[in-house]
Amino acid sequence: MAKPLTITEKIILNHTDLQEISSGDIVNARVDLALGNDITAPIAIKEFSAIGVDAVFDRKKIALVPDHFVPNKDILSAKQAKMMREFAKKFDIENYFECGEAGVEHALLPEKGIVLPGDLVVGADSHTCTYGALGAFATGVGSTDLAYAMAFGELWLKVPESIKVIFEGKPKKWVSGKDLILYLIGQIGVEGANYMALEFTGSTFKHLGMADRLTISNMAIEAGAKSGIFEPDEITENYVKSRAKRDYIFYKSDEGAEYAKVLNYNTETINPQVAFPHLPENSVDINEASAKNIKIDQSVIGSCTNGRIEDLRIAAEILKGKKIAKYTRLIVIPATPDIYRMAEKEGLIDIFMDAGGVVSTPTCGPCLGGYMGILADGERAISSTNRNFKGRMGDVTSEVYLANPAVCAASAILGKIAGPDEVVS
């Protein structure tokens, strides 16, 4: 009888010429998609030229998404975007998205059905792990890796061990995927899953949608994980069936597959979380955070973590008919043009603007301290993004607190870190 495998091992095995596979093996795996952005692709393009091949392995299996500093914030970033554009033109890259159709890469590619269940995806961006939500094996790599993958359509990978994470029970009101992943990182630490695959399962995910799964997989990297995967189910099928333009495969872990660890959590006891500076593992309960009376200068709602339409709807539900606090900035960034358009049609943009917020075109912008909301010395932000490292959003003395969009919206209204229940009756 064949050795029972995890979903991760199965996907990797089926992208090699091997008959069997074990965690710890270093294998050459075929990639279904290799991804780069306007920061990482320029280095990859230089390295690609150095390899000396005449063509990319498959013009349909490469995605180049300008999103970090786009629309370009300055001349240097415009030059980097130009380099990527010229490469895309030269090799007629199918999935190149010009500003106007481009959005934050990890929101855009699932939305467009470019990544699908069963795929093996490598991306020169650490949040490539987002696509695990669809039941794909997806992992962040470097620019040199991207160059190699664009040239040969394969890449060396160490087959990871898996940690099974089980969340049971119905989430409380305002508790989202963001809170579960912040809670988990708080429990296991920023290095808790280093080199490993996180595999999420449990009854909780029947109550949450694809947007929550995408948020959870997105932040697997913040626990050091190589990937964060969900077994595909009806929710996955409903999400991908209208988007996919090619076949996809639902893989499942075998009964008896080996796990490095199995972690069990009761979702019913988890409240919205806030991760304090300067690590995502510093997560505390919203009630505890609120009691500390932490004044904020800025609230950011957006990014590959929480810039989807579901996130904007929740924020709008809280902000509707209210004003944000004086001397507080609210920056809302829909993650893709389609999300932007939906938000417009649903009246969400009006709600944000009426409340005193500003709405930006899709970009990673302030999440990585790029532009569109940089913090001055000593300033403090609450943000629906993924990292709160020292200086991440601006000056090295500024601070970032991570939370879900509902908490970010409530905090903007009160000008201090606050839970949604404090502003919504």
Binding site: I43, L76, G140, T144, E191, L368, G369, G370, R387, G391
Partner: protein, 165 residues
């Protein structure tokens, strides 16, 4: 190979934004990355570091982004090896791919300014200042092949030449 140099010591969880802040990533040239290397962890690093010096750190060095700018910034600064208790996965991978040596070892006994002699073949780290020896964890065979070839691109070129690609 044997390397000798002075230690710049850092703590745990030195993230890629501390190694090279994203505000400088609108320019991926080595000169730019080198100028701002480690800026948010030690503002004066780029002015003090000399060719051959080592970066030594605690747990989870290089956590955060996948940006190869981080190991490139370190390598461009003249630092040949980073020694830490543990490394974040993508940083580890990127370093091997670009030919920067990475050694995992218990770094508690190494202090800022110590002089080390490091043998990358055996993983032996001699602390000449404190007269101690520690051993780094062995590097997987495939990874040492990569570094010995000069990184992933050089490895790829070699494969092409051998007709294996």
């Amino acid at each position: 190979m044997i390397f000798k140099g002075k230690v710049f010591k850092f703590g745990d969880n030195i993230d890629t934004d501390a190694i090279i802040p994203a505000r400088y990533l609108n320019d991926s040239s080595e000169e730019n990355l080198k100028k701002h290397c480690m800026e948010d962890a030690d503002e004066s690093f780029s002015s003090k570091v000399a060719k051959g010096d080592f970066i030594v750190a605690g747990n989870n060095f290089g956590c955060g982004s996948s940006r190869e700018h981080a190991p490139i910034a370190i390598k461009s600064s003249g630092v040949p090896i980073v020694i830490a208790k543990s490394f974040a996965r993508i940083f580890y991978r990127n370093s091997f791919n670009i030919g920067l040596f990475i050694l995992s070892a218990d770094t508690d006994g190494i202090e800022n300014g110590d002089i080390l002699e490091v043998n990358t073949d055996t993983g032996e780290i001699k602390n000449q200042t404190r007269n101690t020896v520690i051993n780094a964890k062995p590097i997987p065979k495939f990874m040492s092949e990569l570094v010995n070839a000069g990184g992933l691109i050089a490895y790829a070129k070699k494969k092409i030449k051998e007709g294996k690609k």
